[in-house]
Symmetry: none
Subunit: 401 residues, 2 copies
């Protein structure tokens, strides 16, 4: 991967347009019929496109490493996922649709039960209902708005989970207060290195105030915080690549990730067709589009091979509409594999198809994991996708004389 | 390669079992009949397995680099060989079966002949016999047991070669005393950076004492030391990968390398059949097995193509026994190539075959260097073998959210 400082010097603004279609969890594993989900799908349009483009297989983070959605997407967006590690609190906040700034310290919270001595006896407060969660978050937010100069934002999640943002100056990552097992007291936020003093004060004060507000709750009478972290400062795609990028994604986390790297997140309906419509509608306004399909991953996670295949086939049916827009570069790939066989993300490489006027068409006949591995691009790190897209869009100058 | 700090966080203890079968120097080069040793061998079991697994070709250290056995093995064990450089003295000590601790400064020694002015006139003391070597080592060891607080251990090798261990506190790597050519005096051990003072004193005193003890020897009247170094501190496989690893290897150096990374070295008879028997006998006790076949390399070094082929065929005949044990992951590969044509190690990639329930079977028909290059794993660094084995054994958690 070329250093950011170099690609920044090379990238130029042009009129060409790039479409990056990410079919989440696209890759699979052979089933009893010997076929992966993608191999079992009828995808005439993708198969047709593979004959006109060049293909390969990407390693999302490193060999054998199963990535979460955060690092897998960062790689595709051209960022080294080992350099820009996105903590749990931030991802959770993005996942419920919060917009983060560089002043935000984000954390995942659990409502929990403690006894009179302050010992945690249930880390999930009996898995209270979403409704009760909302009520308690509202109560807390009403009583705790600010600590010192730091704003406090509390947002309910599912069951006993919530997200909290501390918005203020000089906040730093700090340890969990969650002891991770019952029979122990909550940990204090502790200063382990200079600069953490204020965060420790704010977090500990938040816990103290929460305990006071919640003291009469039968179950959710305390809070445990985990993954207390900030967004790493990430240079934007416009800064690095001179792009004016837009994102079309229906799930909050992907919208949040796109915002993190400076994409504009477009309004879109929730169906796959809606997403492609949104692409068409906005096509003249941006020069880079990230279009995210979520359900392949969701069905993969459920082990629902049949429905994963159907979604792949549905996406296939919209490929002609994308080609009608005549993008200069079209890439179709996954962020990571989610084989129905494993019911979860996996480490396997992603099929990657690049279509532009300037490729050495490799003559593959089928868009599939095992064909792509034999493609003209070979096996490569997903972080190379962005330089390849930019190059094929003639958006990179010559490096060196 | 993912950083150690990360894989350490991701690895988990499970019941799955991994077998890494290393056929030393497996890779070859085409002979007059156009076939490599592996291509010429009849290996029905490996060919059968290649159809059910996924293959690739590994680069042991870097393109064009011919590795020694130390770095080639470290790569396969999941360690960056450029980070953990194992010096000559240490390898030599491991090679004669010495167990090293972090207090040991190891060196290779030559018995040599010097004239009355101390000028070296024969760097090998006329290649004295093994017997004479043993006698002289015994004599030296009797007279030199300790220098300051440092124990001195002297072990004979072949002809004029011996190994010496200085066992004590605060010892550091230091320069050779061997001038590398006749007509010169031996070099002194010199302090080139702070911390080497004690080592310099000890080494120089050892040479002085040796000269005194040996002064009446007709040929071996002095010692020359090379590769004076310590074992780098290597985190163990259990620390990094949460494995309980065992090694089955008949040659001391490989047993020593395995011990270096924290494997338990199993007792085994010396034949190949013995080694596979040892695997079976201990299969329930460990979750990672390194089984080393030496003779492919030895015959390669001798240029004995025919016998190298025979050994490959013999190993092939034991593959069904390994499969009967139902390992979750089985990898069959070489540490480096040793083409009979070159009579030595070479830089060529190693055929690599991975068998598990979770691969995209790539449909290769033949286990050979040239087929594996076309396999679904592509060409990759041998350091990725360990993450791949762990992933396929479901021993790695997801990285990032």
């Amino acid at each position: 991967m070329i250093p950011e400082s170099e690609i920044k010097k090379l990238s130029i603004k042009t009129n060409s347009r790039i479409v990056l279609l990410v079919i989440d969890g696209l890759g699979g594993l052979p089933y009893t019929d010997g076929k992966t989900e993608l191999e079992a799908a009828r995808i005439p349009n993708l198969d047709n496109l593979v004959r006109r483009g060049i293909s390969g297989a990407t390693i999302p983070v490193s060999y054998g490493i199963t990535p979460g959605s955060g690092p897998a997407h960062l790689s595709l967006f051209g960022y080294d996922p080992l350099r820009y590690e996105i903590g749990r609190g931030v991802l959770e906040a993005l996942g419920i649709g919060l917009e983060l700034s560089d002043k935000d310290l984000a954390a995942r919270g659990n409502f929990a039960t403690m006894d009179k001595e302050g010992v945690i006896i249930d880390r999930r407060a009996g898995r209270i209902s979403d409704e009760e969660n909302k009520r308690i978050c509202k109560l807390l937010q009403k009583k705790i708005v600010k600590i010192e100069d730091t704003e406090v934002l509390i947002k309910p999640g599912k069951e006993h989970r919530f997200v909290i943002l501390f918005r203020g100056e000089s906040l730093e990552e700090i340890n969990d207060t969650d002891p991770q097992e019952v029979g122990k007291r909550a940990r204090k936020a502790e200063v382990e290195r200079p600069g953490q003093e204020k965060s420790a004060r704010i977090v500990n004060e938040f816990v103290r105030l929460s305990n006071e507000v919640l003291k009469n709750e039968p179950r959710a009478n305390t809070v445990l915080l985990r993954g207390i972290c900030k967004c790493p400062p990430i240079p934007s795609m416009s800064e690095l690549f001179k792009l004016k990028p837009a994102a079309i994604a229906t799930y909050p986390m992907y919208r949040g990730l796109a915002r993190l790297v400076g994409m504009e997140v477009l309004d879109s309906g929730l169906t796959i067709e809606d997403e492609f419509r949104t692409l068409k509608k906005n096509f003249s306004e941006y020069d880079f589009f990230y279009l995210h399909i979520k359900k392949t991953d969701s069905y993969g996670e459920d082990g629902n091979r049949e429905n994963k295949i159907k979604i792949i086939e549905e996406v296939d049916s919209f490929i002609p509409r994308v080609l009608d827009l005549a993008p200069d570069v079209l890439v179709i790939t996954g962020d990571h594999s989610t084989p129905a066989l494993l019911k979860g993300h996996s480490w396997h490489p992603n099929p990657f198809l690049l279509y532009s006027k300037f490729t050495r068409v490799d003559g593959l006949k089928r868009f599939s994991e095992r064909e792509c591995v034999k493609g003209g691009l070979g096996i490569f790190s997903a972080t190379e996708a962005m330089p390849l897209m930019l190059a094929n869009a003639l958006k990179l100058k010559k490096w060196g004389a």
